[in-house]
Symmetry: C2
Subunit: 888 residues, 2 copies
């Protein structure tokens, strides 16, 4: 017996998201709780998988089930699909388990043909509306179902034809085209279709329906959907459902309209209905940002009854779902219909405020509040702002679509943004567009900020902006955007590609030139929310990676409980120190070397003193020098070229040549696996002896001043217990000597980083010499995969695109491989030293999925960059609550 | 109750090697089986460890035990230690569990002082002998016990004084110095000692004894002993025993003598007593090679009774030990004494012949024969010979001390040899010395061959030569060696450092210039021996790494059962192919690339055809391209310098600049972990598709000609199952296509190398896609340790010296780390695919300890370079017999 492939709305409920998709499940749920949902049905996500498994063919018999369901809909609504006397029109929409707004295809007004158009004109007595609907339908079905196969059938092509047509009429606005014009346009569209395809536009409504369903399934694997899923870590295997729903019309006249609203403000979290609508329009007009819509509160004034009904729907839905809802509605001849509801995407600020408010309203528990907020969203709560007191000139104002400040050079295409921005050349760019479409996603993600001329707070640009935390100013009609520049309308000032501009997405300001941008800190509600999280995560700690007193203070402000990684070599790179470091490396005699080390000791002692002071007694894991020494010297290639040039010019520079020789003698083929970490310290023990002395003297100074210092001295890159033993013995002698000299006791300990596979595999041996382990998962990932992070771009990108790897292992811990080594290490280490302190200090320490993994395998803490500390606190709490990423 | 620290000879036996050392245990055994051993006792190896544990102090009470034992010896021999009327003299010698010839210190004639000298003269009536013995003793004790503390007390210094003294007398030979001269020399030595130390030479015989015992223990850790142990993989912890034995004198007159002999020929294995002796001499004169001794068969003529007695001793010992013995003997006034016996060091040829002969003689079983021969010795059976038919000029002839041919530049100090030779600059050098001493060991090991002017077949040079398989000509009195040259006496021709010479160590020839040297093959006895080994190793296979038909044929001749690793990229480096490969890499269009690939296809098809023909149906594991493509391009640094030079000269070379740009774009920071192996194949599938086609077409040609071909196509560097899946699917399609085109079925399979830690960790997943695994332990070692083999010298050497690592993990598998990963992989793979074929193709595949490990964890075969195949066959048999390295 075959599985049921088609569900009428009243046959489903909200628990069936896997099968019906989010939209389908919610339409079912809303239908069952009595909301005014136009009748329809859902084709399951399983059919999508069947479609792909069969080589992109709809399963046999599916259309029979669809016809049967359609008959139910016809009966419910009293109209008949394809019947000229009373035609039923339907929308065909995608709907996966997880919302992928705008990424897949939709067809509206399906069911129109020569005959039904005539019938609908008779019934509606509104030929302009009917022809407008028809031309939209021709365009949509062509774009969605046929443009992949034939040229010039994309939406863009039809809009081009429309523009030319309007020009031929001497008009610019759509509404200036009357019924005859629209009729004519439909004929032009149909001719164009025939010219491109050699066939008539399908008149059989079932052919239309089948082609539309097929197109929606096909759109599951279009490029932008794939990009979106990759970014959002949505599996490619879950498929999309298809929702077929009877059409209601917001564009049948001035008593019609359509809109989108959130039950609370998705940018700030404030408790008021937030949204926009357009009268006499179809939904896509709002979403696409072609016309600038009206704030929804004006509906209250213009049509209080509808508004009241809508407000009631909002309350019902929020109480029902216990979460903010994002609702699409249509008003047809003053009757309200709800077309869709889903959990509302929101900014980090809003997510936190809403969670806290709902706890205070008694709607949800603190535990639910903490479990609900996506930790990654919290970055937005710490979004950059323009430095207070900075002077700047506002060029124009638009809608505050994505909060935060951004600065960069203007670019005018998504491609250019992707080339120059993050992931490309790494420049800071602001993407400027007339409006954005899903095709622009890649470019938006590469930009620091986005500026659009058109579109409202729920336009595509605004949704993406808030979803991904991109500072964005939308609907900025004070500028006019061209293909490679924009003009500030008021002044005529022209900004071209390469010119610096800045945005204040929180206020909607477009600013001239570069402005100083500054990170934000914890607000009251945010702090309260995180303190709840802290109670749930219990003993599972969060530390920060910090190398300076300043970073340490920021980290503590953001809730860090200590330093998990202090990279001592970072101190070597700073201005006046580098020449001293170079002198130390290039020293010809032990005396020269010692002299340089003595100078460095003074610097490092002060560094550590400052860090211990900032920590106020919290522990600091301080890693002794790790990189190969040649990193501190001039680049070999440059020296080769310089010396060759000098020689060719008949000159010479013995000092430079000596330097080149030194650099050559230290050159390594694979520096990642060369003379660094503890290897360096075993060959040149003087450096780490100096560092240990500096740590201990810095700590002594703090203790003598009545403070507390808890250095955890970490020896990196240990693969064999003897490496650690030899160094620990040597350095512990130094530490004890300083204690004696200074006459104080310091609460110090020695441990190691586990970052070499052999270190993990022999953790039982290594643990005998280590009071703590910190997993260095960056290097551990490099060596476990054999991926040089410096070189892996060339294959890692294709690997992820071709699904050879499920994701970037440098972003989220590869649990099957690297994670397996970590588990081996944890088990072995605890066997010989049950009280060993275990942490992680790779970049994974700030990534929610990895944090959850660390919790699960029994680490004591995670450590991450200061600005990810709030994320880690939340992710840690969710892991402890059993509500981590993998539980969702 | 304290442990017994001192054993009289009759208290021990041969099973007590751990406690008494090899020499002590054998002296005890010989004493107990009634051989004429001068009485004495052994201080245990445990005392050596006590000595070091106490900070280089003899344990309290030891000397009391020594005195008690000495009393027994005095009673047995009727002499008294330190008694002028009838003085007992003793030798004090080291003796560890494993023989370390010449590496530690020895003192003879101990017990001489002003008084006993007088007494001994009265008794012996041979003042010259007594003063000769006294001067030797002063020199030895000074050298051994005090030269570390004071200047100019080394043996060398005393010999210098002796030389000057002889010059002052106008004589050159030692024997020309009469009793008065020797007496005078003793006085000069004693004065010199006092001048250097400010003290008298010790006259208290117990002080002499205690200082000598201490010196022997101290010599356990002298530099050359440490070097030797490292080379021979002898643990530093086992310590040495000290043997104190009553002296017998071979230098008391013409009815006295001393010699060293093997019960069979240690160079060829032939069954005759082989050795040398000197009349009126002490043992060190023979070993040191200062005087050239007489072949032992002459003893039969000169003193048939003694010879007969000695022959009887030889038979007794061989039957008792069931092995060839290396015997030191002394004749004192026509009475034979046996001073030492130990298993005789022998060449590989001799080891094999002796083992086979002893089986035929019924002395040992085949199993014992196979278990006994050190696999590493077999390299000598395959030592290079001078290419047959090569014309060359012999400069001089000496003793054939170490078989095999060698060619290289002459160097005249061990230091220079170490600098320039293996492990240094990697040049081929021949070390030329007047004679060699243990201090020369490092230099000898770095040389291709050794040539000495003095010394016999049992001289230090000869022992080392045979022990380490170094082609050596010793005792070549036809040349005269100076500090930086040698003169061919007959012609006056001078050879200086840097001049090429060659040696035929098998014939004792010194040859002018460079001669072509060629590898040898299996001899009859060798073949028989290995066939026994093969029966014991059963199904555990041995394959070879071979990239050409020629290497394949050699490998099969040496017993390989197939190819375990054919590196296809080696074919890319050959002369005419490299430009084609470069064209392929630098191609600007797909067409250009394909054209180059088509050319390469022709080459590779022929390569594989030839290999399959040579294999005659045996399997060949063929690894698809592995190295990064930039390895085939010119060096980046050179291009940088060239382009900079051109530019500085005002010129330019657009082609070179373009090449540099291409090379730059392909440059990698850590190429070892970059775009190579399967990563390369996923990004550029064309190359491996071509290779697969070439393999399949080559195989088809062989099959069509009535032959058989079994390609095992190996995809390298797999860390994730999807890498293998994607490539296998793609390449299997190519393989099937060729089968179709050619109309033949080929018995091909696909598998992977396990060389990335993640590959081992997820072997259960990977095994689902692989018919076989081959462990690439070179790379696996690199990544498990994070050691770049190209760069690790800088820390690996200190690591081994400082005992941080027990040995070089690139030489013998690191069983605790890398081996653990292999075990994980084997277990996981067999769980999902019990019949998976498992092998190893890293260089470890030819190393006995690693082979044993591979057998233990259940691999099906090992693969190594063709010339190590016999070693692997033997090591595999020993592993299967439970007689591997770790069982010994």
């Amino acid at each position: 017996m075959a599985k049921k492939r088609v569900y009428l709305f009243h046959e489903g409920d909200k628990s069936m998201r896997d099968l019906l998709g989010g939209k389908g499940a919610n339409l079912a749920e809303m239908t069952n709780i009595g909301l005014p949902v136009p009748p329809g049905f859902t084709i399951t996500t399983e059919v999508c998988n069947e479609y792909y498994a069969a080589g992109q063919k709809l399963p046999e018999g599916l259309m029979d089930e669809v016809r049967a369901a359609l008959t139910h809909v016809e009966n419910a609504i009293g109209k008949k699909f394809g019947d000229p006397s009373n035609p039923l029109l339907v929308s065909v929409r995608s709907g996966a388990k997880f919302s992928m707004p705008g990424m897949m295809d939709t067809v509206l007004n399906l069911g129109l043909n020569h005959d039904t158009v005539e019938g609908l004109i008779r019934i509606s007595n509104n030929p302009r509306f009917v022809y407008d609907s028809y031309r939209r339908f021709i365009m949509m079905l062509s774009d969605v179902a046929y443009s992949g196969q034939y040229d010039l059938l994309s939406k863009h092509d039809f809009e081009h034809i429309f523009r030319d047509f309007k020009a031929s009429l001497g008009v610019t606005g759509d509404l200036e085209v009357d019924a005859d014009g629209m009729k004519k346009l439909c004929e032009i569209y149909l001719d164009h279709f025939k010219k491109q395809t050699g066939k008539e536009f399908p008149q059989d409504v079932f052919v239309q329906l089948e082609d539309a369903i097929t197109a929606v399934f096909r759109s599951w694997n279009n490029e932008r959907a794939i990009v979106y899923r990759r970014r959002e870590k949505i599996s490619d295997d879950i498929g999309t459902a298809v929702n077929v729903q009877s059409m209601v019309f917001g564009n049948m006249g001035d008593d019609c309209g359509t809109g989108v609203a959130f039950t609370r403000n998705p940018a700030t979290g404030e408790k008021h209905i937030f949204g926009e609508y357009l009268m006499n329009a179809q939904g896509e007009d709002v979403v696409a940002g072609v016309r600038t819509p009206i704030p929804i509160n004006e509906l209250a004034a213009r049509n209080p009854e509808i508004y009241k009904e809508f407000d009631q729907v909002c309350r019902t839905l929020e109480n029902h779902y216990k979460d903010v809802q994002d609702i699409e509605f249509t008003i047809e001849h003053n009757k309200l219909y709800i077309l869709q509801c889903r959990a509302g995407k929101r900014t980090g600020q809003a997510a936190v405020k809403i969670a806290v408010d709902m706890v205070n309203e008694g709607l949800i528990t603190k535990e639910e509040a903490v479990a609900r907020v996506d930790p990654n969203l919290l970055t937005q709560c710490l979004l950059p702002v323009i430095a207070p007191g900075a002077k700047y000139r506002v060029l124009a104002k638009g809608l505050p679509a994505g909060p935060g400040a951004a600065t960069g050079i203007a670019v005018f295409t998504a491609t250019r943004a992707a080339e120059l921005g993050k992931g490309g050349a790494g420049q800071k760019v602001i993407l400027v567009r007339a409006d954005t479409s899903p095709d622009d996603l890649k470019g938006m993600l590469a930009a620091q900020g986005v500026l659009t001329e058109r579109g409202g707070m729920t336009s595509h640009a605004a949704l993406v902006a808030r979803g991904f935390g991109i500072p964005t100013v939308a609907g900025c009609s004070e500028i006019q955007v061209g293909p490679d520049h924009f003009v500030v309308r008021a002044t005529g000032q022209i900004i071209r590609e390469g010119d610096y501009i800045s945005l204040n997405g929180t206020l909607g300001e477009v600013i001239e030139g570069e402005v100083p941008v500054q990170e934000a800190s914890l607000s009251g509600e945010f702090g309260e929310f995180l303190s709840w999280a802290d109670t749930f995560r219990g003993a599972f700690g969060v530390r920060a990676n910090a190398d300076t007193p300043k970073d340490t203070r920021i980290a503590i402000e953001l809730g860090a409980e200590g330093i998990g990684l202090c990279r001592t070599e970072h101190m070597f790179f700073e201005g006046e120190r580098r020449p001293v470091v170079q002198r130390m490396i290039l020293a010809q005699t032990p005396e020269e070397r010692q002299a340089a080390l003595d100078e460095l000791l003074v610097f490092q002692r002060e560094d550590f003193k400052g860090i211990f002071e900032a920590l106020e007694g919290r522990p600091a894991t301080i890693r002794l020098i790790d990189p190969p020494l040649h990193e501190f010297l001039p680049k070999r290639e440059e020296l080769i070229a310089e010396v060759a040039t000098l020689k060719a010019q008949g000159g010479s520079d013995p000092e430079k040549e000596a330097l080149l020789r030194a650099v050559e003698s230290m050159h390594e083929i694979n520096p990642m696996m060369g003379l660094r970490g503890c290897r360096l310290s075993i060959v040149f023990p003087e450096i780490v002896e100096m560092q240990t002395r500096a740590i201990m003297e810095g700590a002594s100074a703090v203790v003598k001043a009545g403070g507390k210092a808890t250095p955890e001295i970490m020896i990196p890159l240990v693969g064999h217990v003897n490496e650690l033993r030899v160094l620990r013995e040597r350095l512990e002698a130094t530490a004890r000597k300083v204690e004696e000299e200074q006459g104080v006791k310091i609460d110090y300990s020695f441990g190691t980083m586990i970052e070499v596979p052999r270190g993990a595999l022999t953790a039982d041996e290594i643990a005998t010499e280590a009071a703590f382990f910190s997993f260095g998962t960056n290097d551990l990932t490099q060596m476990t995969f054999g991926f040089s992070r410096d070189d892996s771009d060339k294959f890692l990108k294709p690997y992820i695109e071709q699904k050879i790897l499920p994701g970037d292992p440098f972003e989220s811990i590869d649990q099957a491989g690297v994670g397996q080594l970590m588990q081996i290490a944890v088990e072995k280490a605890k066997k010989v030293r049950p009280d060993i302190k275990l942490g992680i200090c790779g970049e994974h320490g700030g990534e929610p999925r990895s944090i959850e993994f660390c919790y699960r395998i029994g680490l004591n803490y995670v450590s991450c960059s200061p600005f990810r500390v709030p994320i880690a606190r939340l992710a840690a709490a969710q892991a402890a609550l059993g509500k981590g990423v993998s539980d969702k």
